[in-house]
């Protein structure tokens, strides 16, 4: 008889193709998870390099390094790559690795589709990035693709549309796979309310993806037919309305921002109990809060576009609905704090990132509340205040949570501990860099500096210079992150199966590194 975890390979091993073919044809959730994570790290550096072009140009007023057209291409591509290429694939990679381990399944439910949904991505981004070398340049109208401006994009336009289609197809397939795995592949005895929170938040995220990615696909299809097939969805001349695009886009766009944060909530909910050595405070409340946030995300979209002109009743509705989101989010924040309360806390790198997440995501949440106030939003709209807000929720929010998750689970993947000292150096460089980069942008926005402009009035110089220094500090310290991961892959202190003290959950019952096949026999969950 074989036990679940030591039943390694045997007859599976001999079928393994080697080299690149292994990665092209693999249907193993761990391989695919690794590919997603490596791809996302690569895109993180590509998008990060674009951010550094932006910050270098904004270090001083005037035009130094790049043409305004190229600057606009950078802002657009930076956003598209970071959202669809870095943050979302990182979460899908973590889901691929961890969800089968957390629910006691031998693999994802649909392994071949899993392979396809990953391998679409390199093609999508090759298409998107190739536009940088076109005569007319890459798309430059902002990632929100508002018509009529987007329709001035040259040859890059169809490439943009089809790459967005591909990313959408990849996400939808990934989401379907995750839902089926979670609902149908759980080990016997694991009821829904016994699932780890990372799995729970991903279940809800996957439903969000299925609900809104097709809407984005529809919106960009309309752009495509407006451009090439003479329809007038958004052409005022033909009876269409460009504002309608904004409604459709943000109907996708707001749930999209929660797609990028709910799995982060899940990761933080795994890490804080481990290092506080206490069970998560209010597990069920966390689940219901996540579901409430997901529901509310469908009825707040117009807060992205208060300034287009809207009836008063509409503005009030969207303002109050937006503020309502603070309630379930507050539940989560307080539950995390309550989990740490009187815990026997230690501060390893994952916990440091988790605590920084807690502080800094909350700052981003508060500036979001300020933006929700309609009369204030008229002032802040399209200013650097908005840039500061969404970078606070996305960088020390989503990205820090991903890094926390990587440090937390890395020993499980590689079987080796990462270098704790270097991990802490990376943390402090990142947390200082991120704040130096983005905090001054609040002041710039409040003082009236618009976003997406390569030049600015001289009174904004100091804060921009500070912000650029912070951005370079944050960006360069990520090379250290890559080095730490590389070192943990190559060697280092051996990790135990538990990895951390007193960890809970099925993923810690398999050896480290997790064998190629796990849970061939479903584990018993009490």
């Amino acid at each position: 008889m074989s036990t679940a975890s030591s039943h390694v390979d045997g007859h599976h091993e001999e079928h393994h193709p080697k080299g690149i073919v292994r990665w092209l044809t693999t249907t193993n959730h761990k391989d695919i998870g690794t590919m997603y994570l490596v791809f996302s790290l690569l895109m993180f550096f590509v998008g990060g390099a674009m951010a550094l072009v932006i910050r270098a140009e904004l270090f001083e007023p005037g035009l130094q390094f790049v043409h305004p057209e190229f600057f606009n291409q950078m802002t657009t591509m930076h956003a598209l790559i970071m959202i669809f290429g870095a943050v979302m694939p990182a979460f899908v990679g973590l889901a691929n690795w961890m969800i089968p381990l957390q629910v006691g399944a031998p693999d994802m439910a649909l392994p071949r589709m899993n392979n396809l949904s990953f391998w679409i991505l390199p093609f999508a981004f090759a298409m998107l990035l190739s536009t940088l070398f076109f005569d007319g340049g890459a798309p430059a109208s902002g990632w929100t693709m508002y018509p009529p401006l987007i329709q001035q994009t040259g040859d890059a336009f169809p490439f943009l549309i089809f790459s967005v289609h591909l990313m959408g197809i990849s996400s939808i397939m990934g989401a379907i796979n995750i839902v089926v795995t979670i609902l149908n592949m759980r080990a016997p005895g694991m009821t829904l309310l016994k699932m780890p929170l990372f799995t729970w938040t991903w279940l809800i995220t996957a439903y969000l993806l299925i609900a809104v990615m097709p809407v984005l696909a529809g919106a960009v299809t309309m752009l495509l037919t407006d451009q090439f097939f003479g329809t007038s969805f958004f052409h005022a001349a033909g009876g269409g309305d460009p504002v309608m695009f904004q409604h459709i886009f943000w109907f996708f766009g707001h749930p999209e921002v929660y797609i990028m944060i709910l799995p982060a909530f899940g990761i933080i909910s795994e890490i804080i109990p481990t290092f506080a050595r206490k069970p998560l405070f209010g597990y069920e409340a966390m689940v219901y809060a996540t579901a409430s946030i997901a529901f509310l995300s469908f009825i707040v979209w117009a807060h992205h576009m208060f300034t287009v002109g809207m009836p008063l009743a509409g503005q009030l509705f969207f303002m109050y609905a937006t503020m309502l989101i603070a309630v379930p989010t507050g539940v989560k924040i307080f539950n995390w704090v309550a989990t740490m309360w009187r815990g026997a806390m230690t501060f390893e790198t994952p916990m440091l990132f988790a605590i920084a997440f807690l502080f800094l995501f909350t700052i981003g949440g508060f500036s979001g509340l300020m933006l929700a106030i309609v009369p204030a939003d008229y002032q802040y709209h399209d200013s650097y205040f908005v840039v500061a807000h969404f970078h606070y929720v996305l960088v020390p929010g989503a990205v820090f949570a991903i890094m926390a998750g990587v440090y937390y689970w890395l020993p499980k993947w590689t079987g080796r501990m990462y270098n704790e000292k270097l991990g802490k150096v990376h943390f402090w460089l990142s947390v200082i860099g991120v704040n130096v980069a983005f905090f001054p942008q609040h002041f710039l926005g409040l003082a009236g500096m618009p976003r997406r402009i390569p030049d600015y009035a001289t009174q904004f110089t100091n804060f921009n210079a500070i912000s650029s220094v912070g951005a370079f500090m944050f960006g360069l310290s990520q090379l250290l992150f890559a080095y730490i991961i590389w070192r943990a892959v190559r060697g280092g202190e051996k990790a135990t199966a538990e990895v951390w003290e007193n960890t809970k959950g099925l993923e810690w019952t398999v050896p480290s590194p997790a064998p190629y096949h796990t849970f061939d026999e479903p584990p018993e969950v009490r």
Binding site: I176, I210, V215, G218, A237, D241, M244, G309
Partner: protein, 184 residues
Amino acid sequence: MSDNTGSDKRRAANRSLIGHLLIMTAGMFAFGFALVPLYDVFCDITGFGGRTNTEAATVTERPDESRTVTVEFASNLSGFGHWDFEPEMRTMEVQPGRLYQMNFVARNGSDNVLTGHAVPSVAPGSVARHFQKTECFCFEPQEFDPREQRDMPVVFILDPEIPRHVDRVTLSYTFFTGGPVAAR
């Protein structure tokens, strides 16, 4: 044996769940397109987006002589080209319930025959449905000979039901010009 029936069962369960999720995906794709007519209905009801009638309205004059409303006229050109497009006057004091005429002057500055189409919009959107046009150059595309200039009239009326707190309404036209008329 029991393993096999177990995996068959799981396969069937997976199939039906995938089916449901695919239907959801297709449904949401369709929903994105369904938003287009829904948005039209929403705008027609609320006047959202400053929609105003694009076909001639039939009205009866019932002047309300107790007050006047300032109507502002705005003109915009879409894209580039040799066009002039201006109202004869920027503002006009009107009494609700009375018909007025205003001319917009357009000039084709190019050497080609061009057609243009003006798209109207009324602000604030909440009173757009109280602004009716009985005659308007915006109802049809306008053809211009090379270098032709002409006055284009709009005849409009403000509904006497227009809320009393509204003392200023803007009628704006954006003039869209197509390419040269083919094969003339």
